[in-house]
């Protein structure tokens, strides 16, 4: 993890619902069911990997990022947060957990971001697993770092 040497994790509390486009993503069945969530359940409305944020919205979301962009972010927006809780962004390169970031979510809506700095050695396929406080998988975002 130290090799990756990055880490700026910025947690933003934004009361916005940005309309960013999703990256290559896997959504577990439980998350699909959450499309019309019960009031007591956390609901993820948006999750993307992007180059930056602009006006608290993800900009240049993609599934392929050249290492030259310097850093990338994982943006997750929740439109229903029933109670103060936390989530995890697990950054994984080729099935190896590189970095885990715990992010706090506040009621009633909240967005959170984690970010990594890119290096030459980071090239290859990656995924970010978004998990709830109990470790349950909410979504997987897949992307690649290229030349």
């Amino acid at each position: 993890m130290a090799k990756i040497g990055f880490i700026i994790a910025v947690v933003l509390a934004v009361m916005l619902f940005p309309a960013g486009l999703p990256a290559e993503e896997d959504t577990p069945p439980s998350a699909i069911e959450a499309a019309s969530p019960p009031l007591d359940q956390l609901h993820l409305s948006e999750a993307v990997i992007c180059e930056t944020l602009e006006a608290f919205k993800p900009l240049n979301s993609s599934v392929i990022f050249p290492v030259s962009v310097g850093s990338i972010m994982c943006f997750t927006g929740f439109d229903h947060v029933p109670e103060l809780t936390s989530i995890f962004h697990d950054w994984i390169r080729r099935d190896r957990l590189v970095f885990r970031k715990k992010l706090v979510l506040k009621t009633p809506r909240w967005s959170s971001v984690s970010s990594i700095q890119l290096r030459e050695a980071d090239k290859g396929p990656w995924r970010v697993e978004v998990r709830d406080a109990d470790g349950n998988l909410i979504r997987i975002l897949r992307f690649s770092i290229t030349d």
Binding site: E54, V63, D95, P125, T146, D147
Partner: protein, 484 residues
């Protein structure tokens, strides 16, 4: 028990004992077949030459070793050329049983009384005669232009052969046992210049043949009516038939009784076999154990046997081991690494990590080689039971994406594949990746085909599943980033 004997017994195998016995018997038969011939001395010479050559090789005398090698080769070729007639007659005169089994020579009774009586009768009548009685050596090579006769020895036969009007009287008669084999034989003349003047061609021919073989030649002088014997290059006059009979008996081996001769033959054969055994054992010892010991280290790949078909080898701490061996200089210098095997029995390993200690039973060495050291002394091997798992597929993009383009969405078909592989390995796999898909020149949305990369090689798709993934992707222009 002496240390030397203890060491010998610990390494000798039944194959080695058979090896020694077989070669001892071959050497023994060689002696039996060749004894009494000039060929035997040459074979002994070649054998001694080979021993000296080995000693020279051990002493690292390169030049002498090379020269001796040449001499041994030339001698062997020379023997085949010079002794071709002896070798031919050896195989012609002896049956397969004589070569492989018999020890005693067959007692052939030579009618010495008839020969002696005939010879003196010819002498009294002043009829010249020349009679050859071969010894153990063949006289075929020395005799030229003879006439085959094959008649039983009798007084009348001998007298008629040398009768002056007989066309074959001029030449020698060859008597083998009780048979007159050949007549009118031309014998080689001696080149000696110190012979008495009265010795004519007949005497010179008799001496010439006895210089080249162990034959005994009877000469009847027609001028003086004398009987003489030529043997080993010497000639002497024999006064009467009794003395001649005595000499003939000694020459034909009839001076001793048949049972005594057989007994002597058996003792000689037993001694010869014992000596053969000693010589071959010594040669075997010098080859296998050696008087000069040497050490070598060999890197040997590890082989695994009796693996359960349901188990897969995932990882080994080492694929080869370093084995230090000691043995004779000859053995070590000619060592073929393929003769050394390290084999592990995997019948008892269980899924997971197993530590296998290398024992002497796991190592197969060539005969005579002794194990000194093994590195490493144990090998860790991780085996895994085969399992099946459904994995999501992810594209492994590579290359340089055009700077004004973003790849927005990617859809795969199929999105998942089912693979077979080691269970431990599959437990650690959550995604399977495609082969590298180049992004260079990607400008517009579209689709392409690729395949999943089955890494490690032990991983495979479930039967019936095609390794082909359709990738649909959408691209859009990159937005300018205005804020820092």
């Amino acid at each position: 028990m002496p240390l030397f004997l203890e060491k010998l017994l610990s390494i000798i195998r039944w194959q080695d004992i058979l090896d020694i016995l077989l070669n001892s018997y071959i050497l023994f038969r060689l002696y039996i077949v060749l004894r009494g011939t000039r060929l035997f001395l040459i074979v002994v010479f070649i054998f001694l030459l080979l021993i000296v050559q080995q000693i020279v090789a051990v002493s690292s005398m390169i030049l002498t070793h090379t020269v001796l090698q040449g001499i041994a080769a030339l001698t062997a070729i020379g023997v085949l050329i010079v002794f071709r007639y002896e070798i031919r007659s050896l195989f012609q005169s002896k049956g397969i049983k004589d070569i492989l089994w018999h020890v005693s020579t067959k007692p052939v009774v030579t009618p010495v009384e008839i020969i002696a009586g005939s010879v003196y009768h010819l002498a009294r009548k002043r009829i010249g005669a020349l009679i050859v009685l071969p010894g153990r050596q063949s006289v075929d090579a020395a005799i030229q232009n003879s006439v085959s006769w094959n008649g039983q020895v009798s007084r009348e036969m001998i007298e008629s052969i040398f009768w002056p009007d007989n066309p074959v009287h001029d030449g020698a008669a060859v008597i083998q046992g009780n048979q007159i084999n050949r007549v009118a034989a031309i014998l080689p003349l001696t080149e000696r210049s110190d012979l008495p003047m009265e010795f004519g061609t007949r005497h010179r021919a008799a001496i010439g043949l006895t210089e080249r073989s162990d034959a005994l030649v009877l000469i009847v002088s027609e001028e003086r009516g004398e009987v003489a014997i030529a043997h080993a290059g010497h000639i002497e006059t024999v006064k009467d038939a009794t003395a001649l009979e005595h000499r003939l008996r000694r020459h034909t081996g009839m001076a001793v009784g048949a049972s005594q001769r057989q007994s002597n033959d058996r003792v000689a054969a037993a001694v010869a076999f014992f000596l053969s055994l000693v010589v071959v054992s010594s040669v075997w010892y010098s080859f296998s154990l050696g008087f000069v010991r040497s050490l070598t280290t060999v890197e040997v790949p590890v082989e695994y046997t009796k693996r359960d078909a349901r188990l897969e080898i995932i990882e080994t701490s080492s694929t080869s081991v370093r084995i230090q061996l000691s043995g004779s200089l000859q053995l070590i210098s000619r060592l073929d690494p393929n003769q050394i095997k390290v084999r592990f029995d995997l019948s008892k390993v269980v899924p997971g990590r197993n530590s296998l200690t290398i024992t002497e039973d796991d190592i197969i060495l060539p005969p005579g080689a002794m194990l000194k050291k093994v590195e490493p002394t144990s090998i860790d091997i991780t085996v895994d039971a085969l399992g099946q798992k459904k994995l999501p597929v992810q594209v492994d993009w590579a290359g340089t994406l055009p700077p004004d383009i973003l790849v927005d969405t990617v859809q795969l078909e199929p999105a998942t594949v089912e693979v077979i592989g080691g269970q431990l390995m599959l437990n650690g796999m959550e995604t399977i990746y495609t082969a590298k898909v180049p992004v260079d020149g990607l400008k517009r949305s579209g689709e392409l085909r690729t395949a999943v990369a089955l890494v490690p090689a032990s991983l495979r798709l479930v039967p019936g599943q095609k390794n082909s993934i359709r990738v649909r992707f959408e691209v859009r222009p990159r937005q300018l980033i205005t804020s820092p």
